[in-house]
Amino acid sequence: MPDVNRILVIGGGFSGLTTAVDAAETGAEVIVIEKNSYLGGRVAQLNKYFPKLCPPICGLEINFKRIKTNANITFHTMAEVESVSGGPGNYTVTVKLNPRYVNDNCTACDACAQACTAERPNEFNFGMNTTKAAYLPFNQAFPQKYVIDSSYCKGDCAKACKDACKYNAVDLDMKPGTITLNVGSIVVATGWNPYDADKLDILGFGKVKNVITNMMMERLASPTGPTAGKILRPSDGKPAQNIAFVQCAGSRDESHLPFCSYICCLASLKQTTYIREQNLESKATIFYIDIRTPGKYEKFYWKVKDDPNVSFIKGKVADIVQEQGSDDVIVTAEDMMTNKKVRMKFDMVVLATGMEPAGASKKIAGVKYNENGFALPDSGIYPAGCTKNPMDVARSAQDSTGAVLKALSKANSSGQGR
């Protein structure tokens, strides 16, 4: 049994990082397990936060710095928790470590990528472009270490990467490994995935060229994204001037996600500002059931509503097709205010897809989940942030701090707290 508070944090996104630094700064020992090759999770993919519209990387960097300077925190990237057993105060956790093929000698000099002959789809940009198979996940990635994707870069390609590295950082002999950890309590912060838009058969994603998701829009608008921040539609690279936002794409729908994803209304409102900033003539239309901007976020809604080039149509979109003979997109909805079925043409359509909890597609043995895949609190195991409920970044941070308190009280003893 550990003689100090030792807490395992599963997931190194915004909630996991907040949990880790808050717990570590009380003196607890924290281990963070992250499945990606970088920390920061979904927030790292965002162009801007609402409502202040500042870049999220600022907030992440503060946390990265706190992690770097705190000896109580260790973290593993490219690692996945396989199972959890034991009980409060004494959990045994097995963790699978996947090989990065790049060791700590890496200085992120880019020589391996320049030498690399293979390319891979860039999942950080939702496949909208490619990277070399030796790559840095994104330019501000933490840790600043390259990754070699062995499924694309083998044999001569892998050798070329290795030969190009002056620092002996490429290690092609790395093997998957398993470690066993003994911890007192666990915070599950595995976060969320964008709901799979392919499942929304009537909304055209994957069939109609210029239908994208809101998370793709974040990457399109980001200076580090596939178009260097210019919002160009996928089919022909034409600047998208007239964009529709389709709210509740999969959320609040028994056949998909039966719950409200909380952030999509604000995300779409925010994304209208991306387009409007790029071009004075540009137009945005939001199709909605009802605009949900809780609390102070209502002001953000009012601000966007004041823009005459942003229109709101009350009525859910249930049909999206490509215009015959062009790449434009025809969207059908009932405009409930005029009581007419309307068919409108847009350059591009953004589906405001919701949050599917990571537990919906992959459950950790030993953690309890509800029917939608949200993790449930259990004595000694606490979900934080979007693992528990859909929430925005600010609430995730608050929720994570709350999870720290609960985890600390269980970490060192079987239910007695201290």
Binding site: C248, S255, H256, K316, V317, E334, M336, K340, K341
Partner: protein, 377 residues
């Protein structure tokens, strides 16, 4: 926007819920239903607004609303409803209440619509034919070498049996026609009052002809997605009813004008028509029933109102085939099958303007009205 005072009729809401629309309150007015509906006009589309009227108990807006009848129960709305509010089932329940609302004899509507009165529904014709038909025995002994169904029963057959049978059906048909005409008149004036001063298209005959064309071509059904198969089942049933009606009248002509009575040989053109119709009827009902079960997950299971009607229609088919088979096999139990057949046929005829069959009259009326007021072209 003009101010409107709404007086909700809570009993009407309860009636809808009790009639198969129990999912009504789940609707959150997103209008997915209206968009996926291929049958609705673009202007003031349905069924989203009907769901709101139904939730709010706005009976007047619903019972005389042509849109509830323009709906063909494709159930595309139900399949795509994100809340499981099943607009298709709710509108079906509303139609049932609309039938009751315009009915000439509300008691008849109740008997066929209320599951608690199912015993009465069947007891009436069973008793009717038992009491009025001129036989007093149910011992099915062999009457003759040849079984003759219009003599109705093998024991103590009566020369007046065919006449009494025709009298009962004749009077029932008169009652049904009167009921349907009354209902059509009430529905039409209700729709006219609801519509207010809508410009009418003028040519009523033209509107009737174009509606009839749509109905006989089943072109509205072709717009359905989920219940695509139903188009063919329904089409076969409609044409088999037409065929059976024609052969029925033909048989009357034979017996009264030519004194040529049944059973008719299978080579007779009238008999050929009725046999072809019977086959279409069987195929139609099989397709409809299969589709009902196959699509229940997407389209909903339907209500008592649907199933009692399907039972009557299937009952006609099943007892008809059974009676025919037994007659050909010369087994006198065929008379019992024929007795039940007559019971089912009477149920269909007597309750036509009160059961789900009434859609024949009221959907047609609504389609004509919609064309007449330029709601539909």
């Amino acid at each position: 926007m003009a101010e409107q005072v709404i007086s909700p009729d809570l009993n009407f809401v309860k009636d809808i819920i009790a009639s198969g629309g129990e999912s009504l309150k789940k609707c959150y007015q997103c209008s997915t239903c209206t968009v996926v509906c291929n049958v609705t006009p673009d202007d003031k589309p349905f069924p989203r607004k009907e769901m709101m009227y139904a939730q709010w108990g706005m009976k007047d807006k619903l019972v005389s609303n042509p849109d509830i009848w323009l709906c063909h129960q494709c159930s595309d709305c139900t399949a795509y409803c994100p809340r499981g509010a099943k607009p298709g089932e709710v509108l079906n329940a509303v139609r049932k209440l609309s039938i009751r609302h315009v009915s000439m004899v509300p008691l008849f509507a109740r008997i066929v619509q209320d599951p608690k009165l199912i015993w009465l529904l069947f007891a009436i014709p069973i008793a009717l034919f038992f009491v009025f038909m001129p036989h007093k025995s149910l011992e099915f002994i062999r009457f003759d070498d040849k079984m003759v169904y219009h003599m109705f029963a093998p024991a103590e057959p009566h020369m007046y049996a065919p006449f009494v049978l025709k009298m009962i059906f004749g009077l029932t048909a008169v009652f049904s026609i009167l009921s349907a005409l009354t209902g059509i008149k009430r529905l039409w004036s209700g729709m006219k009052a609801q519509a207010g001063d809508v410009k009418s298209g003028g040519n009523l005959t033209g509107d009737i002809i174009s509606s009839a064309k749509t109905i006989f071509a089943h072109s509205k059904f072709a717009d359905c997605n989920v219940n695509r198969l139903r188009q063919w089942g329904h089409l076969l049933l409609v044409y088999s009813f037409v065929g059976l009606s024609i052969s029925g009248i033909w048989a009357l002509i034979y017996s009264y004008l030519f004194n040529f009575t049944g059973p008719y040989p299978f080579t007779d053109p009238m008999k050929l028509l009725s046999q072809a119709s019977m086959l279409a009827f069987i195929a139609g009902i099989v397709i409809i029933l299969y589709n009902r079960f196959a699509q229940a997950g997407k389209a909903g299971m339907g209500s008592y109102f649907d199933w009692i009607f399907l039972t009557i229609v299937s009952g006609i088919g099943a007892t008809g085939i059974l009676a025919l088979a037994l007659r050909l096999a010369n087994v006198s139990a065929g008379y019992a099958a024929f007795y039940l057949h007559v019971v089912f046929v009477w149920l269909l005829l007597a309750y036509a303007p009160y059961s789900k069959f009434a859609h024949l009259f009221y959907r047609t009326t609504a389609m004509v009205f919609a064309r007449h007021t330029n709601r539909e072209s």
